[in-house]
Symmetry: D2
Subunit: 470 residues, 4 copies
């Protein structure tokens, strides 16, 4: 169904919510917001609108522009509160059942809920909820959260429901719940997934990334804090905090996931990437003719490397902008070089040249090998690869979709072993400390960089493996 | 969204289920079965397949042939048990959320559930389930049933869950539940909605109407009995029965809903309709040149009238076969005579003629008026209308979508008053006793004819009005 | 691509044209007209609108309601003249290139042209036009006609172009040409294909069948006469006539092609069919319990037989109304009995009965065999088939798509041989003389019944075979 | 219908053709080739395959991946010769009638023809062809060329037809004609539009740009020369040349149209753009903090400027990658800042900064004004714009879709007047001589830079204006 030419982790999602005193046509505003978060999820999109005591919604598989083509937006009602979501590609789907937001009727009315993250004890929670008499209509973690919130809601007090629900959730989550009167935005106690809060006159916005707020002319106020439960209603905003808050935002957002024009936890993604490149140039000296980045995600880091090294930046790969969802599978003849459908070599720039190629990360290594191969075939004399992140040595249980060691080329290999496999003349990774340093907004900022250093927040790996062992 | 040129009640659905020891490609077989039930529901279609411990499904809005166009059927797995559903048009939908079957994970595994009917105490049950901590993701009665079954299931014993659930349900229902090992087919204690059981070698089938079994070469064994809970699994079939069974199948199935080639509760729908016409001819003598039926549903009764009266059958209306879901709304110029888009007059047959026009029923009366009008304009000398059912004087709370008295032209009017409104030279309805007599398979058979005689099973009207009064 | 469960000839088309002094939104009116001609062609549809000196159009594959779904009609301009077309299914298409109308710019402006018929010397004409320097962008005969009209147009005189073009055309044709100022409706000198002319206040209409005019409330004035060139412009109507007019309308329109509520050449199709049945009953006496027609096309004739014989009419086959364009191909298991997808037996009416089954015609015989088979399996004691037309013994070169003798079950077989193949207890056809008699509007009316009697107008068969022999 | 957020000229097309002795599945290869030319045309796509004496084709509106979604490619036949085309967006279309290739049957068989360019005397030629008895079924220039070739073809000699046809064509054209036995690739005598020739073992390829050949692993042999008629058949290749060849390739291909990884007339587009930037940096010294390019087309020139000036390259605009064909029109609230849907500011990079913003060209100036505006609002201290091309002062009659002076912001304005309108602190264009110098592959190379300098090849402007004056 979904096309994945890239060897990149994917399991992100994007959330966009509005609480508006005055704005007309929230559905359209939400649509534009989601459209800016499209890079976080291309499989499905949905928008829910709360009006009076009801919530109406529409969701389907496809890009935001496809799902809401035609008159669909007009069929959504005018309302005061909106919640939108985009979702990434997963494997075994034939229906829209896993699309978000999920909309449901619970103890005290209608709700819509959308999330970004991964609940590591979802199966356990699901089983115990099932024992208590609940049924599940999908496989998504979100249905577990909806049921927990409902279970713990006391009378009309949904906030207590949210507070208690988040206590039993393990893993990562940023989610937004809308009711008939309020928006409740929640970020887990590690702040693993990003969530940002903005205002525009008397309206309030919550978004996975600041780029969506910028684009709408909404002022970015601040990040929702790790462990914060931010309630927005007609009295303004009020915050509650979880226990045991321990700041550990996912560092991979800076490496690859987020859009470069976003600012996450007060650190510009662009600047973080540029600084990574610059820092690498300081430490790793390579005698070469040119620096280039793998488009699009590694171009900023490559520029940083060029700036730091004084070696000129020259593109070596051109990306085809039109790879879409409906692209047909390459026939056998083309499968081998499927990377060429997406990336073509700037032959004129490459011939006889010694190239420093910067990429943001290497996960499985399959695409890197192909890229090196087509550069060499195009006449590159040397290809030195500089990776603007450390070796991915550990699975991620709380976000991206790599859950076992054997999927990782670097799990049990060092730089030179990986270099040999992918065919580079030399291969260089970044130190974890340097990466963290580059992504810091403030001295003392801490991250989850477990995929690089194995230091999981909340002993997640241990818990996950123990559960599997049961 | 959905096109409704006809003044006919609609809220039916069709169910089709298979338990197979041997058949390959259940999804296709289920597709062909549903296709024969398409007249019972044209809004959405879905198929669920149980294989191993999982259930996969696909459902969407559209005709069976549209929903399962392309490769969708192939994406459904091979399995041993299948459940399909078609659903009628309702008003306020923008998504597939109300399509059936619903598939869920409950106390003892995966389930799929599909129904035909209307639970009159659904709101009440929903509220009390919500109080107990359950959330609802749609507005359909089926989700209430799913939760009740789950609630009452004891350990692995789903049958006890079903038994107890049906005790608290009021209204009409025929539903099928599939699990990883069994098919459970249920018909309410009045047998209000039809459900039939068939076999083909070692395979078992359940269908809303027998025509779907015939078409697949499946032997019709018998109707699922009013109040029966029929369990099909690897030990064969076993039946349980509800308390207080009181046979009252909906008589409107014979009048209009079912396909003429079906046999419901051992009575051929075709024969019932033909006999209605014949009986009317006996009682209502009209001096006319010809008899004609309103296509398609009243043609059989009209033939009966012709046979009984000796007056020749000559068509006066030709039906356009191509009115589809996507038909655009008539512009103002055409709206007035929108009936002409679907029905054209056989001018050559009509001019100067005294016509006996047989229709199956009159509900709102709007279409009847238009038909009389176009016949007169085409030169008919007299139009006498004979209705092969009594005056619809009462709402239906358990099936068709007419829930208030003021929607019914006949609620407070007699034959001559209605005749004046729709412009017939004379208008004649059938007696309830005669209708019941014509639809009987056996002496003593009883029906729900509440829309005609106001005798609701289970005092449903009283209960409904009392609830509304709360 | 296109679904054909039926063993019926197909190569018809439908034309609908409007010349309007006053009507708004001709595109919609044309849409409704085409919709009533949908039975004449289900593959593609198109509408062209002439406004000022330009002609805009839209055409695509699909039913009328599919092609003009969404806002397409609104994108067509307001104008004074409209031309629409529906087209039947042919085999080897992957694009819309053969859809009609074709719109072109020629010697004196913009034109749109649409036809029903088959030009038997098209290849020859095409070749000679190609030699003269013309190029062809499709395979349809219409492009030949367009080029001929253009070739023979003198100055601004398009009528002379039409007059000379029709002189060199062999075969059958009814076509309509629209220009910026006029509608020109043409019927070949034999009148092989139908074409009817109507008025509504100051507006003029031309349609393949009268049912489309009736449905719009347009008064049917008269048939366009065989050999007539009817010109409609701001001076009203004017007619020109070809030489050698010899009235020979296709009798198969009455047998099968036309809708029963149409009147063709002053003869009601319904009455012709009914009379065929009645006439058969007079001549062919069968001792049986009931008469039934194969739905939908043979039901009227069957009623005539019942009326004539006094044997009661009882349905034996129920037709599924929902077979659509997108219906997936039956899998192997179902292919054998694919007729059951479309037709189901009324078991209750059939068991133990001796049935007279009336069909309109037998062409290949494949479907007839299947129908007899399913009736016998359903318990019919005897199946006697009565065909409301003679044995099809000859190919048709001017209309329907059967061009060789070996496709016809009856080409070299008599009644009893065909009966043995299709498994009937007895099989009876109609005499050609009787058929002609039943279809006559006036004494002396003559037809093309060449498929039955081999008497081709204009020695067409001889010419066709000679050409093939070249 | 088609989305155009950008203020860029558009009227390009892409051609891709294959002559193959051995390759299987030419349709797929052609599909991949077209996919790499998608930037040259996003409105429609088509592929024609020549096999035996026939040509089959499919074309429709949409992106390559949309047009050939599903099984369409498989429905095209195996063959030896393929021709594909992508086409840009124009205004007044409701059908696929203008899609290419056009496929036709002419004097000596079947042909498919596809082009890139604009015939300035097309109307005149069309009129005279119409007088000679030809009809036109579309408005595209290509139909004129097809008719001319056909007209001048002598016997089986198509080459003579092409030779004579090109003599009467004015304007720009690169076209490919395929027959049952050969590929004929033609580039006008000025070489205004690009066309390149490649080989892969015994197969021959022709493409609008080299990037499509690279991506398929095809060796780029050489450009088709200005005025060349390159014939490829089973005897290999043979070239004919027009009279009066005068090398004047369109310089705007280097400025904006072509993909950066292509090499046109032996000059790398990337290097041309980079050199433009570098050259500008030499001449135009600006005291600023950073250099940035407007993505995507001006990024390379901006890098050149950064390299030449020593000022660091920092991005200021992030482009949303997901703007698609179906994107709904912004509501009023957003229309004003519609540029923000596509481009978001890197706030963190911009605040308080003096920015040199490089763009490739300014045509209407509307987008430039909006970009400057959003940068200023985001806190930029100064915005200096450097354009990597001269002021567009003249219409283009042979390619891009700007045909009148009043559409051009620079037609009658100088740098400082334009600067005032778009709100830059300073604005700088390139000299024509410098641009030409940067785009040269060899000393002495000449270009058409008429949009900048008014020096039209063949006195085209004079001829066009004279014709309009008629």
């Amino acid at each position: 169904m979904c096309m994945n030419f890239e060897d990149k982790p994917k399991d992100e999602c994007g959330i966009f919510a509005i609480y508006s005193a005055t704005t007309q046509d929230l559905a359209s505003t939400c649509y534009y917001g989601l459209y800016q978060l499209q890079h976080r999820g291309q499989e499905s999109a949905g928008i829910a609108i709360s009006y009076g005591n009801d919530i109406k919604y529409y969701k389907n598989t496809g890009l935001v522009s496809e799902v809401f083509a035609g008159d669909i937006l007009k069929e959504l009602p005018e309302g005061d509160i909106a919640l939108g979501h985009v979702r990434y590609c997963t494997k075994d789907e034939v229906s829209v059942v896993n699309a978000q937001p999920i909309v449901y009727h619970g103890k005290c009315g209608d709700f819509a809920l959308a999330m970004n993250g991964k609940i590591t004890n979802a199966d356990e929670l699901r089983k115990s909820l099932v024992k208590e008499g609940v049924i599940f209509q999908s496989n998504i973690d979100l249905e577990v959260i909806a049921n927990l919130i409902n279970k713990y809601t006391e009378g009309e007090n949904v906030i207590i429901g949210v507070k208690k629900a988040v206590e039993v959730l393990e893993g990562s989550f940023a989610f937004v719940l809308i009711t008939s009167t309020s928006v409740i935005a929640v970020r887990d106690r590690f702040g693993l997934r990003p969530l940002v809060f903005g205002t525009h006159f008397d309206d309030y916005y919550v978004s996975s990334e600041s780029c969506a707020l910028d684009s709408l002319g909404v002022d970015v106020e601040r990040d929702v804090a790790p462990g914060e439960i931010l309630v927005i209603n007609n009295e303004g905003t009020k915050s509650y905090y979880m226990d045991n808050i321990e700041r550990r935002p996912c560092i991979f957002e800076y490496v690859y996931t987020a859009r470069a024009d976003s600012v996450i936890d007060e650190r510009s993604v662009y600047k973080a990437r540029f600084e990574c490149g610059r820092r690498l140039a300081e430490k790793i000296k390579i005698d070469a003719d040119m620096v280039a980045g793998v488009p699009d995600s590694a171009v900023v880091a490559a520029r940083g490397y060029a700036a730091g090294s004084g070696i000129p930046y020259i593109d070596v790969l051109e990306k085809n902008r039109y790879v879409g969802r409906t692209f047909i599978q390459p026939t056998q003849a083309f499968r081998e070089n499927s990377v060429k459908i997406k990336l073509n070599v700037h032959k004129a720039n490459v011939q006889g040249k010694r190239i420093i190629l910067v990429d943001d990360s290497i996960v499985r290594g399959t695409t890197s090998k192909k890229i090196v191969d087509i550069l060499k075939k195009a006449g590159a004399k040397e290809v030195h690869m500089v990776i603007a992140s450390p070796i991915v040595k550990h699975p991620c249980y709380t976000g991206i979709d790599i859950e076992t060691y054997d999927q990782l080329i670097g799990a049990y290999r060092n730089e030179s072993e990986i270099s040999k496999i992918i065919g580079t003349d030399s291969l260089h990774f970044m130190d974890v400390e340097d990466l963290i340093d580059c992504c810091k907004a403030h001295a003392g900022d801490t991250f989850c960089a477990a995929c690089f250093d194995g230091k999981y927040p909340d002993n997640i790996e241990e818990k996950v493996l123990k559960r599997k062992g049961d």
